[in-house]
């Protein structure tokens, strides 16, 4: 039992390292660091410029600016964990042609996928930090690192990571069960972007869509990140709920996502094996 756990842990760490090397080795270190810094800042700045144009720089919308900036910065976890992760897995299959060898290894395939997803989530940390620092300095958001509720932020992020992994792993295997799967990971991330309260509160969505959005753990995660960083100085989506109540909803939604992800994974894995698509060549 202990030996099996040690092997699983070793396999997991190797999958993390593999994911990191594959996503960071595409260029020399200097361009990679520049890319890592520029990418999230440019993405956030586009939205900030749009915000300024729409609001005309009115001071009474600062709470919404904080809402927007924190939502966008933490969204990097979802972009990396869902969209970039799915692309990575499909590249393992079609471009590098190594996925089947990982799939056939004794290490459970979900552990390999969790490792690869972990590397993506880890690399998103830099992106989040960079945007928050730039927002604090450049946009004068009142973020004080000493007053952040770190325990709340850590628990919320941990649950969100579990949700994102469950979702992205299930999604990646669904994509493996299909032929022309490139691009769907990005589409799914975009859909989540709209219904997760990253750039606007879910209350502005049409009724059925708002209900659907309220089932997503990402909504409660982003609410808690905003509260833990800027409690009282940021627009809140659920002003009637305490932090504990939002956290409970996040935990329930996470449990639901993990259960659903597991069921979808089981189904999609069998589909992929039935169709023989685990080692499908991109040119086929």
């Amino acid at each position: 039992m202990v030996l099996a756990l040690a092997r699983t842990w070793s396999g997991y760490r190797t999958a993390v390292r593999l994911g990191w090397l594959v996503s960071s080795n595409w260029t020399s270190p200097v361009p990679f660091v520049i890319y890592t810094i520029i990418r999230p800042i440019s993405g956030a700045l586009i939205l900030v410029v749009m915000y300024n144009v729409i609001t005309g720089g009115r001071g009474n919308t600062r709470n919404y600016l904080a809402f927007l900036v924190i939502g966008v910065s933490f969204w990097a976890f979802v972009t990396e964990g869902v969209s970039d992760f799915a692309v990575g897995i499909l590249e393992d299959r079609g471009r590098f042609k190594m996925l089947k060898y990982a799939y056939l290894a004794p290490l459970r395939f979900p552990v390999f996928l969790v490792g690869r997803a972990s590397s993506k989530l880890t690399s998103a940390v830099a992106s989040v930090a960079i945007v928050l620092v730039v927002a604090t300095v450049g946009l004068r958001l009142p973020i004080n690192p000493l007053s952040v509720d770190y325990p709340l932020l850590a628990i919320a992020c941990l649950l969100a990571f579990i949700s994102v992994m469950a979702f992205s792993i299930a999604l990646s295997v669904v994509l493996l069960a299909g032929r022309d799967a490139y691009g769907y990971g990005e589409i799914m991330a975009q859909v989540l972007y709209i219904v997760s309260g990253a750039i606007f509160p879910i209350s502005v969505l049409p009724g059925p869509l708002a209900f659907f959005a309220s089932l997503s753990p990402l909504v409660y995660w982003l609410e808690l990140t905003r509260r833990s960083i800027l409690h009282g100085r940021v627009y809140e989506m659920f002003p009637g709920l305490s932090d504990g109540e939002v956290l409970t909803r996040l935990a329930l939604a996470t449990a639901g996502t993990v259960l659903l992800g597991y069921l979808v994974y089981r189904w999609a894995d069998r589909q992929a094996r039935w169709k023989g698509y685990i080692d499908m060549d991109a040119a086929q």
Binding site: S10, G11, W26, F96, L104, A105, P106, R273, G276, D279
Partner: protein, 336 residues
């Protein structure tokens, strides 16, 4: 020369056993039978060849046996484990090396990638590095161990993939067209390493798919010829060649002209005929019931207006056995 099976292996123990194995692919427009009623028994310690043209069902069979693909019907066991129900336990006992796919994370270094895959098999790093270094040395890759994979030639990549397959010390190794598109030297190195690896442990089994007759003849203890999803015949290379031993095998070279293959097949006493073009000549392989049939063959050629450029009798090969059993050459089957 074919490998001599190691006498100390347990010949009664089956490494692979399939019963009525079938696989049908259904699309909106058509249903394709890739495998049909395949019954196969491969003994532990054998180097077993699955020979057939492209599209014959070889890769489908291998994909089912390594648990990448589910069968539509029948059962398959590898090393005593069912490929559908016990696939998790099975995966630690098998490895697959596929040819012609240029596999590898191009940005990683050879030794680094191999070590990573050893970790997915739970091999301790020290042991893994020792095995990797030994195998790299044996396959002549020691000098590129720290080179990025993208900088390797196709032959080197394929050797690296063989190292990946061997380093986990599988009970059954599946080689799916391992030498396809390789130069002569690289293909020879691969074959030699496979033979050496088998010789080290009599309980190791290799399943090799190939459409190179000579490769199967040189390496395999036994061969199954597969065509259109079915096993046509199974036996040792020698026994398969005996199928055509009583025939007269003739190579007939004709200068270019009108097609005559069908006419030659219609000549009484011609058991089978195939043709390939090489160096501007049509080279026919004919299986004749006896020498006297040759006169009728030459007459048929002359009536068609074709000119004979060369004629020679020779010893039968596996290719001749395939043509006799299937009625056409592998090349003809592939273009059907």
């Amino acid at each position: 020369m074919p490998r001599t099976p190691n006498p100390s292996s347990d010949a009664s123990r089956l490494a692979v056993e399939t019963r009525d194995l079938g696989r049908v692919y259904k699309t909106r427009n058509e249903t394709v039978t890739a495998l049909s009623s395949v019954d196969l028994k491969v003994r532990e310690g054998e180097l077993f060849g699955v020979l057939g043209p492209n599209g014959a069902g070889k890769t489908t069979l291998i994909k089912i046996l390594v648990t990448l693909l589910l069968p539509s019907s029948g059962t398959a066991k590898v090393d005593g484990l069912d490929v559908v129900r016990e696939f998790r336990q099975l995966r630690s006992r098998i490895a697959i090396v596929s040819g012609g796919e240029n596999a590898g994370y191009g940005l990683l270094r050879v030794r680094e990638q191999l070590w990573m895959f050893s970790q997915f098999y739970g091999i301790k790093s020290k042991v893994a590095y020792a095995r990797i270094d030994e195998l790299l040395e044996r396959l002549g890759l020691a000098s590129v161990a720290n080179r990025q994979i993208s900088g390797l030639s196709s032959g080197m990549r394929q050797k690296m993939n063989l190292v990946r397959g061997l380093m986990t010390d599988p009970r059954v190794l599946f080689l799916d067209e391992p030498t396809v598109a390789l130069d002569v030297g690289a293909a020879r190195d691969l074959r030699e390493e496979v033979s050496r690896w088998m010789a080290e442990d009599p309980t190791r089994t290799v399943i090799l798919t190939t459409h190179y007759m000579q490769e199967a003849d040189d390496l395999c203890d036994r061969i199954a010829i597969v065509n259109r999803g079915r096993i046509v015949i199974e036996g040792t290379p020698q026994s398969l060649k005996l199928e055509v031993q009583r025939d007269v095998v003739v190579d007939l070279q004709l200068e270019p002209g009108v097609p005559v293959l069908d006419r030659l097949r219609e000549v009484a006493g011609v058991g089978a005929a195939s043709v390939r073009e090489e160096d501007g000549l049509d080279r026919f392989s004919l299986l004749l019931a006896d020498d006297a049939v040759l006169t009728n063959v030459i007459s048929a050629v002359e009536r068609s207006g074709r000119r004979v450029a060369g004629l020679a009798k020779r010893e039968p090969t596996l290719e001749d056995a395939f043509v006799k059993l299937v009625g056409r050459s592998m090349t003809e089957e592939e273009t059907q």
